[in-house]
Subunit: 203 residues, 2 copies
Amino acid sequence: MVPNPGRCERESATLRRQQVLDAAADCFRRHGFHSAGMAQIAREAGMSVGHIYHYFENKEAIIAAIVDRDLVRIIEILEGFRNAEDIIKAILNRVAVDIDTHTDARDSALQLEILAESSRNPEVAKITRTKDAIGRKLLGETIENGRRQRGLPPLPATDLDARIDVMIALFEGLNCRGVSHPQLNRDGISAVLDKVLRQLLED
Amino acid sequence: MVPNPGRCERESATLRRQQVLDAAADCFRRHGFHSAGMAQIAREAGMSVGHIYHYFENKEAIIAAIVDRDLVRIIEILEGFRNAEDIIKAILNRVAVDIDTHTDARDSALQLEILAESSRNPEVAKITRTKDAIGRKLLGETIENGRRQRGLPPLPATDLDARIDVMIALFEGLNCRGVSHPQLNRDGISAVLDKVLRQLLED
């Protein structure tokens, strides 16, 4: 077997970057974006500050990479629906999992911190809005494909866009609910959401 | 007319407190709860730091008062429905206003900052969770009264609780949408929300 040092190095760099992102996510979550410094992130990641700067220019670049990683996860989920025989059914079947993800305390804390920072930091706002636009576009295509499979008529663009915003609001709202009402009844909410999503997807 | 200095003093104190809350809300929104110091809040309010401490023990006490003020607003809205001939219709008629309030950039920024802080600060979490529980209880009573007026059967407690969480998630999610998608189509969303809320309230 021929050794491949180039590949190993790339893999190691990817791993190091992930390590920085995990450490930074923890710092942002626990202390807020403003209060978390590069030195603290370095300590948490077990690296030198210089090493962190080798991978990321500043905290905004780290946030951008965290948001990118999140977008990749969303794209994977939506791409996963593409091959489903019944896309709408596949979306509805995931509701319970989505509720768990969106009410997870650690994940909610990070999402809320990134949104709070977006509301005052134009650079971070640009990052989250770009991600949001890509997510909305893909979700729209997924819904349209699902409706086509079922022989449902295509939706006027403004109606589709509004349904997408309401669907995303529901799940982003669950991030908020997970913080303000951590004991929420997941099964009950799953049943209610199933009905609401049917209306948004099938009507 | 007999002068009433006691009353004047109380009114002036109330006004001063409001001034501090407005200044603090601005600071939290712009810099985040962690980064906003009492000195900065005092400067913004045009008072001395000692004066601020006369009204509020610490930043958590300020957040508690801001959350209280918000709760009073919610209670007023829900109390306003109480005398409506058709409570469900009155709720639906407010949807456009609610969308505007919840996607207002300044208000969203503050709500998200308070929630982000709640997810890492147990003292702030306690404040927001208490407010949330009161809000849920009142919303539940409002929905039940509305259904009774229309001769609709009462909902099982778990179903009602889940509908309440989904309704609140929708509006809290709009706070998030206002940040990630500020150009959202308010009219389109209003039409979609109307249908979703009908299902949640009337079904």
